[in-house]
Symmetry: C2
């Protein structure tokens, strides 16, 4: 033991990683011919001493994990006991038959089953803080979208003798706008009468989501389908009167799912009016801000919502110059609402951030970056390197960061510079980055205490709850089995800490969240009796 | 820039990870109410200065990677140019259509296709050093196994009217041994005549491998099938005359695949003779050693082979006491051949190492541990913690270590204590830990320069080359796109460095490998012209 302990001793508490670093720079060639002969085992120790050291190491490893240093109140401890009892049962069933363990399967096969899970029921009611990564036209339930198709003056354009919906448009007369492919316009009412309301409902339910495709040939194919939904929804949602209603309804659905705050990304399309006149982008933002204020006024527990301007990345650098100008103008008019900037669209097919460095450096400091980066499994591609640019450009958070764990230096920079990773478990699965949640790279971020928040990206398209399903997979599938209420509480707190809320606003947010949290803790204890 | 650089400066070369460490111990509760307001972006810098820094960071990240510090000779650089040209073409095709990129698919769908890949052809001929993780009855090609079934005096026991093979046995008369389930014995010749030679060949080809099952309901189901093959092969291979031949043929097949050294794990079954008499375990080892010497004598470029005694882990601690005694006795008789100890069988269903600490601590220091650990995706399970026990018990290498990256402390210990991880890419896929090689956790070990070797585990059961397919996936699917000849050379060198070869033996091994390596480099250059 004596040979071993002197090597272990200096780690206590701190420089573990530094010592290892020495080895990281070893020249393979040079040491190839060296033999290390010192004893590295504890075989000369007693079993009792071994067990003490073993316990200490296992404990140290657990202590590093996200949230493990939070101290729970007596009440929280009581609630934790309830939560962990339920969690352990679900894991025990999974260990006996892994094919019945939801986080090992595709969400499209388990959606209904999960709704019945006691752990899901608990998480659904939990005040989860805010959603910091979600796209504005992929927020609402499919049911709400179908409701919208009953609004008056809606037209549908179909191809293949009515079998394929190509576009929607609100209009007093037959629309004359160009569509992505040739199709025939008819009033939605007539289409519904002709095809039968139930048939149309079923058809649209499928078209407004990624179902039933749990297995695309590649992530490119998944993305094509995914972008197709956005395009189909365009004419339905970009109608000025619908735009605000959709957002208001999203806030309502999120609120009911235990979400008190929403930072949404938007490409900010110009909206159209019934006669075809177009509004300006400024109006798009104004409608959002007004709806948010209206919602806040009638929901005193709601913290609020802010906007990240996130136009498409597949453009020439010159266009990004325009983006920056737009961002500055909008921020000037809506300084407390339009607060950040990002670029969206499939990273792998768009351009890397590196192409846009010049215009991006001109963005004023007070407009924060919240870049998508590393939403790929192509290790070492230029897209992969978006992580480096995002960090060096000063991003406040990283969208997805799926590839981050393959970049130990970037991962350490995130921890050092306190950059949170917006982890979107269900999105990563549906868009084919990985299948089994137990292999999701966020497990490593949790283990290494890299700041993360859990988000839902486009819950509408996978027909999940606004945030609860992503929490379910993070808690049951991604985090270690021991992860408990401290982990959940840390995630909720992180979503406020790493939001764009600052100063007084942030303090108010914490207290609004704390109020619901305390109530939930009471409920968990009460309902378990 | 001035605000940023002072923070970056101290990292140069070293304490990156330490600085980050400070944040790792942050109390979530405490800092939740703090706001960090310093500037963290480079927006006040010029694009030119940004690009210099950006390049430096990207370069630093690449430099940490496994093998990146190896300096190539002029000839090696010329060969590297050839290799990277071919590699880039294959990646380019994959980027255009990821569904055509083999490392994104299951090996059972791509096996034939890969054999035609120019990158695979190059790797096949490359002197890859040694295989340090392989099980002794899962080494040879299916073709060789079928050949063995033509040996005289072989009987087969079948169920379901001859449709299901249950057991084999060499015997002069109808065997009387007990089988796993009821079945009828008949001479292999008669069985073949009755069913048709080609039908039997096709049937056995399937039964001797995991094909065609690329999608089991769970990894437990895959393991059941997998263990079933071992059991079926028992009577065919544990016949004393076959035992030595099988091993000799394995050495031949491995040698032809560019493998000069083999450390094989064996449960060391007692062998049977034609009359049913049983030999001792000692004889099993003696046969191995004799065959190895015979092979070495006729293959002067071959380095050799050593044995790791690896009995089943699903036993009572008392049995492990017996294992230790056996290991000590065998090592006494075969001190330079039977050099190590491990426990095998599905980790998740067996017992954790922690249960066996007492007997394991009594193992003499000179018999090394080479434990399987972390071959699971159940994060935080007792099985997961096998990693900690393996390390504290002084394991020289870790078998699989699939879960290692979820344990930053254990991963650092591996780097610090120079414990190599035996990565078996194809095995992990077939046994259902993960599908897409691009998500294999070894990518993170490569990125963080944790020592690894590439092994094949049970190549017979997945019908792959003894090592080339695993190298193919490591090079093309797991490593970063930039990984080149330095990466490959480092893997080959690692397989000697982390082997049980020491001192003079190891120096000889390096020179035998170097001889073939130089020749291969010449060939790569010559053939490209």
């Amino acid at each position: 033991m004596s040979k071993y302990l002197p090597r272990l001793a200096p780690w206590r508490g701190r420089p573990i990683l530094l010592m290892a670093q020495r080895h990281a720079t070893t020249d393979c060639d040079k040491i190839a011919h060296t033999t290390v002969s010192m004893s590295r085992s504890l075989r000369k120790t007693t079993p009792a001493a071994y067990k003490i050291l073993r316990k200490a190491v296992a404990r140290l490893e657990q202590m590093i994990c996200l949230g493990q240093r939070i101290r729970l109140s007596d009440k929280e401890q009581a609630a934790n006991a309830v939560i962990m009892r339920v969690k352990k049962e679900e894991i025990k069933r999974g260990l006996l038959d892994p094919s019945k363990f939801s986080p090992g399967q595709h969400i499209f096969q388990t959606l209904k089953h999960i709704r019945k899970s006691p752990i899901f029921q608990l998480l659904k009611k939990m005040p989860k803080g805010g959603v910091l990564h979600a796209h504005d036209t992929a927020l609402c339930s499919t049911e709400y979208l179908i409701e919208l198709t009953y609004r008056e003056h809606l037209w549908i354009c179909t191809a293949d003798e009515g079998c394929r919906a190509i576009a929607f448009r609100f209009s007093l007369e037959k629309p004359t706008i160009e569509t992505l492919e040739p199709c025939n316009w008819e009033p939605m009412e007539e289409f519904r009468q002709r095809r039968g309301a139930e048939n149309v409902r079923r058809y649209l339910q499928r078209r407004f989501s990624m179902y039933p495709f749990s297995n695309f040939k590649s992530n490119n194919e998944a993305w094509t389908h995914f972008m197709g939904i956005f395009m189909l929804l365009d004419g339905l949602l970009c109608y000025a009167p619908v735009w605000g209603d959709y957002y208001y309804n999203a806030l309502q659905e999120f609120y009911e799912d235990g979400v008190q705050y929403l930072e949404l990304r938007s490409v900010l399309p110009p909206l159209y009016c019934i006669g075809g006149e177009m509004l300006s982008i400024r109006d798009t933002v104004a409608i959002y801000q007004a709806e948010m204020e209206r919602f806040k006024a009638s929901h005193p527990d709601f913290i609020g919502s802010k906007l990240i301007y996130a136009p498409l990345r597949g453009v020439e650098p010159k266009v990004v110059e325009e983006y920056v100008k737009t961002a500055v103008e909008l921020n000037k008019e809506f300084p407390n609402f339009m607060i950040g900037f990002d670029l969206v669209g499939q990273e792998e097919l768009g351009r890397p951030l590196n192409d846009f460095v010049e215009p991006l450096l001109t963005m004023p400091e007070h407009i924060h970056f919240y870049f998508h980066a590393g939403e790929t499994n192509w290790f070492g591609s230029p897209i992969d390197e978006n992580l480096i640019d995002a960090i060096l450009l000063g991003t406040k958070r990283i969208g997805h960061g799926y590839a981050l764990t393959k970049h130990p230096l970037s991962m350490e920079l995130c921890r050092l510079l306190d950059i949170a990773v917006e982890v979107c478990p269900v999105s990563n699965q549906v868009l084919q980055l990985g299948v089994d949640y137990r292999n999701h790279p966020a497990a490593l971020m949790i283990a290494a205490n890299v700041p993360i928040v859990i988000s839902s990206d486009d819950p509408s398209f996978w027909r999940v709850a606004p945030l609860s399903h992503d929490f379910y997979f993070a808690f049951l599938g991604i985090a270690p089995m021991q992860a408990d209420l401290r982990f959940l509480k840390c995630l909720a707190l992180n979503s406020i800490k790493y939001s764009a809320l600052k100063g007084k606003e942030q303090r108010e947010a914490y207290s609004k969240w704390q109020k619901l949290w305390s109530k939930w803790i009471d409920d968990v204890i009460k309902n378990s009796k």
